[in-house]
Symmetry: C2
Subunit: 216 residues, 2 copies
Amino acid sequence: MSVITVERKVLEKNDAIAQQNREVFKKKNLFTMNLVSSPGSGKTSLIERTIHHTKNKFDIAVIEGDVQTSLDAERVAAYGVPVVQIITQGACHLEAGLVRDAFGQIETNNFEVLFIENVGNLVCPAGYDLGEDLKVVIVSTTEGDDKPLKYPAMFRNASALIINKIDLVPYVNCSTALIEKNALSINPSLKIFKTSCTNDEGIAEWCGWIESKIKR
Amino acid sequence: MSVITVERKVLEKNDAIAQQNREVFKKKNLFTMNLVSSPGSGKTSLIERTIHHTKNKFDIAVIEGDVQTSLDAERVAAYGVPVVQIITQGACHLEAGLVRDAFGQIETNNFEVLFIENVGNLVCPAGYDLGEDLKVVIVSTTEGDDKPLKYPAMFRNASALIINKIDLVPYVNCSTALIEKNALSINPSLKIFKTSCTNDEGIAEWCGWIESKIKR
């Protein structure tokens, strides 16, 4: 596990670096996902369950983004996969240059899937291409069913939506059908999964979809 | 209910306007709170329960901030209190000039308490003074107990912490004691409330604290 702390002003153009990242990822035949959500929606838990469920099928590396701590990287490192933590020191989103630097610190080439866990923020990361194949937006049932309408850019720019914490639906005022309807009204091509990282509902389907995307 | 949509570039200095706002609020003997949290932590629900519980004790006005919709203002307006919606059109936080403009659109002087509900974002609003008496940060138990460590600026700049959705503790992997410990490690002077907007636990204590702050 490595830690990168943001200390220099990012002067380079984000989109140009993102395109360079994309070319590097393509040459290495990686399937790369940029995971975006509110704080506490379950990005790290989803990565943990995905690693657990796919350990005999394909290999995963992880770049973690966080404002201040390396707690998430420590959780993921416990699974024995390569992980680099980016600490943004207050910045509200990852940028492509940080991802490039973090990617350079991954000490192995033995993986087919790269997760980039963005800073927990449903607004700012929407506008920053990191060079990923696609963005996956995660929303938990405890956040209510109006989030796609209130934070449309994130849902518009994502290719997949994970409705997480579905085990909590009996206890909260939230309709997963309404989340789906609201999200599809913003972005009709969203691929939608419903998951629980507590009882693993939906995890197999999600992992199967990732496997179908791997570039071998 | 009014709606303000951000269309002009904010050129004026935020802090100078915040100070002007503070002087206006002081002249009017208002107790003003800037509510900040992740999306879906329950800011609007907390305002709703507070209005309901205090309707015979004091009067409340509300300024709502949202990236895209006026859904929250519609919810609050149903309680018959004055409310103005600011739509930031993608911007990730409220600024003092927007609050000044919104405040000017409140059509009555008959209130003692002003809630400013910020954009759902646990990062960016931390740095923007709006002229409020104090910031209240809300974190829900479903977000996990590590949020104060991961988003320290928000907890450092707040005067009160509301741990919301405590009715869901039996169903989630979260210790409210650990939230408290983590939050107090960042900001030892935080006043902490534990609430549920579903069963109203803790709401009376919260409302009593607000009443103690009213400047009559």
